[in-house]
């Protein structure tokens, strides 16, 4: 996979991060991503991301479950093996509502989780480059991809001026690959750069 160069700025307060995001974008840089330890509401809008349509996928999976249940049960009980249960109608829709409902929920939930994992490229054994190990702890890590024209020193100075505690230039692979994290030789626990 292609190696790319990134400028990284770490913030420790979302109140500082938001104006910084705004100003870095206003200065014409393209922010690749901001890695945060928790869901910071409004950050997706500040970065100009569009809304996710995951919930639409969930709806489609749900109605797939509904139709699967209705068609399967009606075929089984009216065509394949019409079971005589006390002379009651073979097409007993009210009695099937519980199963129809459960299958709707099951399809929607399983489908959405799989779609979520696919979209975010999450799976057991997947490894991705981490720009800062404290991005899952207490730092908000802004990553800007460098182009040929990017002056990294200028960008680092801008980030520092906007409140970044630490700035850095990293060469990293994008995307994901199979691997585990045990071969990283960073002794992070004893070496918190920004205590």
């Amino acid at each position: 996979m292609a190696q790319k160069k990134f400028v990284v700025g770490c913030f420790d307060d979302e109140a500082v991060l938001f104006p910084a995001v705004k100003q870095v974008r206003a200065a014409g840089y393209k922010i690749k991503d901001v890695y945060t330890p928790f869901a910071v509401h409004g950050l997706d809008h500040a970065l100009g991301m569009r809304e996710t349509s995951l919930h639409t996928a969930g709806f489609i999976y749900g109605i797939t479950g509904t139709t699967t249940a209705i068609s399967a049960i009606s075929w089984i009980f009216t065509k394949d093996w019409p079971l005589n249960i006390g002379g009651k109608p073979h097409f007993a829709l009210p009695a099937w509502i519980p199963i129809i409902f459960e299958l709707t929920v099951l399809f929607a939930a399983v489908g959405m989780v799989l779609t979520f994992c696919y979209l975010c490229q999450l799976a057991p054994g997947v490894k991705k480059h981490r720009f800062h190990n404290r991005a899952t702890d207490d730092l908000f890590v802004m990553v800007i991809e460098c182009t040929d024209k990017t002056n990294t020193d200028d960008l680092k100075a801008l980030l520092s001026a906007k409140g970044a505690l630490e700035t850095d230039v990293q060469v990293a692979e994008e995307g994901w690959w199979f691997g585990t994290y045990d071969n990283d030789n960073e002794d992070l626990y004893n070496n918190k750069q920004l205590a």
């Binding site: 997706d44 979520f116 207490d138």
Partner: protein, 481 residues
């Protein structure tokens, strides 16, 4: 400020002077430390109980259902009682994580992770009972509708017992997915601060390569919200369908339309009691009193007194209907088999009344709600009461049916029936001990999310508010947005 505003008068959800790093430290430290001696003792006891349960089940599978004291009249005894009891307990987790998420109750963040774990383990325990009650357990896969060589003879989609198969397996799957999707970011937190190779590797695998990207968080939020939306009707449907197992039959005492809401309220009631029992121990053992606060215990006790009273109303309504319907079978079941103290099972009815209806009324007092010892004691009482409830419903309706010639002698369980129940406690606590040791017992990322609006150090203390002039208080409140 982009964060949601929360009234300054509200009790903080996180006590102490916390930073994001401190939150991580407090919650992840127990995973990194060696387990205490108490943990080993507890784990050993749990595994021992599990082994006893496994042996009881082995006897039941080898020699048949005759190992239990069920008879032709009382065909459902301890096993179905225990099944309904465990399923009921399994309702609080998803209620806390889903319903309270939809209602935007910030306090769920402190307790949802452990409550969801409890749900999953309780449903696992519940599932054992109907499966082994089948007798020929190796044919349990017959409940699945698939094209087969027996006709194909399909399952009966009109039967509440089959609805149960679908409801409980769906509930288990969805709860597991909901729980695990919340765990992924927290596993990444553990991974990124791990200092041993093995831990880095295992949590690296468990965290699915999570990085904390904004886009991923955006999708994660959408996923959580929709899963919550799906789980809310699901959690109500599961115990509704369990109640249909009874309500769609023609047995006096079961054939009532009140069952679904009454069972759901009872399930939430017992589930919250079990959450209280477990969390009171967890917060003490792992020193998490700053995150699972007295405020949380207070709020859960409010749910307990509410649902306990709903259950109480249901009991009284049933008694009233037993008389008002003028159906002699109903009247006999409710007014003799249950409510008459000196009938063979009268003791269980009044045990249920005392534990479920009378004793939770103590929680109308704020002082009692905020007392950890009283809460712990009451949580045990409530779960005993809820076990009695299921026993009363099943056994007192069955032991004397329409035909006096088939009336049963007194039913008491055999040691293997009891052993099976005890074994599920072993299973439950084995799982829970492993969870408490190797998983973040509190949702780290969610606590960080509420920290700056609900953390004690980010709110002025009550003392400040109480001594403040009204005018300046109003001024502060108006500008806090």
């Amino acid at each position: 400020m982009h964060l949601k505003y929360e009234s300054q008068l509200r009790e903080p959800l996180v006590y102490g002077n916390k930073t994001y790093a401190q939150v991580t430290e407090d919650i992840v430290r127990p995973i990194e430390a060696k387990p205490s001696r108490l943990w080993y003792i507890g784990f050993f006891i749990a595994v021992t109980l599990l082994m006893f349960g496994a042996y009881s089940v082995y006897r039941e599978v080898t020699y048949g259902i005759g190992q239990w004291n069920l008879n032709k009249t009382i065909g459902w005894g301890w096993d179905i009682t225990n099944f309904v009891w465990w399923v009921g307990i399994g309702h609080a987790g998803t209620l806390i994580s889903a319903v309270l998420l939809l209602f935007r109750q910030g306090w769920r963040t402190g307790v949802n992770r452990a409550a969801e774990a409890m749900t999953i383990f309780a449903v696992m325990c519940a599932g054992q009972f109907p499966i082994f009650h089948m007798g020929r357990v190796w044919m349990a896969f017959f409940v699945m509708p698939y094209p087969n060589s027996r006709g194909p003879l399909w399952v009966n989609f009109n039967s509440p017992l089959l609805w149960d198969v679908f409801a409980i397996s769906t509930y288990f799957t969805v709860s597991l997915l909901f729980w695990y999707s919340g765990l992924i970011p927290d596993f990444a937190t553990v991974r990124d601060r791990a200092f041993t190779k093995l831990r880095k590797k295992l949590y690296g695998i468990a965290s699915f390569g999570w990085t904390g990207s904004t886009k991923h968080w955006q999708r994660h939020e959408s996923l959580s919200l929709v899963l919550a939306g799906l789980s809310t009707p699901l959690v109500l449907s599961v115990h509704t369908i369990v109640s249909f197992d009874f309500a769609t039959s023609v047995i006096p005492g079961w054939h009532t339309t009140i069952f679904p809401p009454y069972f759901v309220a009872g399930a939430i009631f017992s589930g919250f009691a079990m959450v209280q029992s477990l969390l009171i121990i967890v917060r003490k053992v792992f020193g998490l009193e700053d995150y699972i606060t007295i405020g949380h215990i207070d709020l859960m006790n409010k749910v307990i007194v509410l649902t306990g009273s709903i259950v109480g109303i249901a009991y009284l309504t049933e008694l009233f209907m037993g008389w008002y319907s003028q159906n002699k079978y109903e009247g006999y079941t409710f007014w003799y088999s249950r409510a008459y103290l000196f009938s063979p099972y009268g003791w269980s009815y009044w045990g249920m009344m005392a534990c479920n209806v009378l004793s939770p009324q103590i929680f109308w007092s704020r002082k009692m709600r905020r007392n950890v010892f009283v809460t712990f004691f009451m949580s045990i009482i409530v779960n005993i009461g809820m076990w009695f409830e299921r026993f009363v419903i099943i056994v007192t309706s069955l032991y004397r049916d329409y035909l006096p010639s088939s009336w049963s002698v007194y039913y008491s369980p055999t040691i293997w029936e009891i052993g099976f129940y005890v074994g599920t406690f072993g299973l439950f606590f084995t799982c829970f001990f492993l969870f408490a040791k190797y998983f973040p017992v509190i949702a780290v990322a969610e606590i960080k999310y509420v920290l700056k609006r609900s953390g004690e150090s980010f709110k002025p203390g009550m003392e400040k508010i109480e001594t403040q002039e009204l005018e300046s208080f109003v001024h502060d409140q108006a500008h806090a947005h």
